[in-house]
Symmetry: C2
DNA sequence: CCTATAATAAACATAGTGTTGATTTCTTGA
DNA sequence: TCAAGAAATCAACACTATGTTTATTATAGG
């Protein structure tokens, strides 16, 4: 897709900043188009040129984020996509670079669609280890959600460990110990 | 608390049914007080005698659910509260008995506050196994989220396994293998 | 049966919504 | 650099849902 008009980029960017800022104070469900536009100093009519409502806007932002996340990860299409320690590290780097956004979106001010998209995203990029029995599926869900839990905990405890350290923990836990045991 | 007036119970119950029913069609964020009351055949003014808005209503329902869940689980106050296989089974029984509600609330039509409350609930009722180092905290989050993942997967695949079977899987995974390994 | 209280009905001001048309400002590429 | 096209603004609009109030009716429970 061609690069879009600078005015469009600017409008969306300032609206995005305003939304993120408001979401630090209150849940997205209580944010109105009016106050968002006031905050961003954007004509309300302009908002409707881009989005249908606040939730639609958040969803578009989420989708952009997942697209950039996907490009960044650069996993081979089709074939085996099991995450290696390197890929785990890249994920933690990405999360750290977007920590402000991720933290808000995973908090109770966010919107459940983000978590659902994230689980789906991870689910598609982890590889099942142990066939496709229903038990294996349960274990697999356990691992995917568990990984999300570690990311969330890392974010909420100030990201004290480096991405490499976190990747090591993940590889150790998911890639080795669980694999041996299950 | 004393048992409340039958009319109150009836009003709330019919509103709750209407909300759940609407949430099967659309996300809670798009449900208005008006359509909810129309569906429930309740005067809109009556709604405001009980709740401030749809989100407030959902939150009250969530809280009632967690209170009943907590009573049902009947864990000893204060002391060690590590979940045993028996308790795991009880959780799956409870989820099954409330599967309609749980499924909607965990879907993208639900509200993120429910997941946050649920994680918090589980977090408080699992016992940490390995001290309180930051690494242990990460593993602990992994387990709590992982458990939620298994519950969600079980719900979304038609609850084919019995609660006892699921409890066995959990105990095996969380109580034994991970404990030995970490 | 009586009293208290919950639910109803109707009306109201208000705020936010979503859209429109005319106008101004800005961007881009020739 | 300038012209054409597109985006943003502004003001106005009808509309819908909100939240509250008042008077009235219905019902629960002692």
């Amino acid at each position: 897709m061609a690069k879009q008009d600078r005015r469009i980029r600017k409008t969306r960017s300032v609206l995005k900043a305003a939304l993120l800022s408001l979401m630090k104070e209150k849940s997205v469900k209580h944010i109105t188009v009016k106050e968002l536009c006031d905050k961003a100093d954007i004509n309300r009519g302009t908002f409707y040129l881009h989005y249908t409502d606040v939730f639609d806007m958040l969803e578009q932002i989420e989708n952009e984020m997942f697209n950039s996340f996907n490009e960044y990860l650069d996993l081979p299409q089709g074939g085996e996509k099991m995450l290696t320690e390197d890929k785990f590290r890249e994920i933690f780097v990405y999360v750290k670079d977007n920590s402000e956004f991720c933290q808000v979106m995973l908090s109770d001010r966010g919107e459940i669609g983000f978590i659902r998209k994230l689980i789906k995203f991870l689910h598609e990029r982890f590889t099942t280890f142990y066939g496709n029995t229903s038990v294996a599926e349960h274990y697999f869900s356990f691992i995917v959600y568990g990984f999300l839990g570690m990311v969330e905990n890392w974010l909420n405890t100030g990201m004290k460990e480096s991405p490499s350290e976190m990747a090591f923990l993940c590889e150790n836990l998911i890639g080795n110990k669980l694999k041996e045991q299950l």
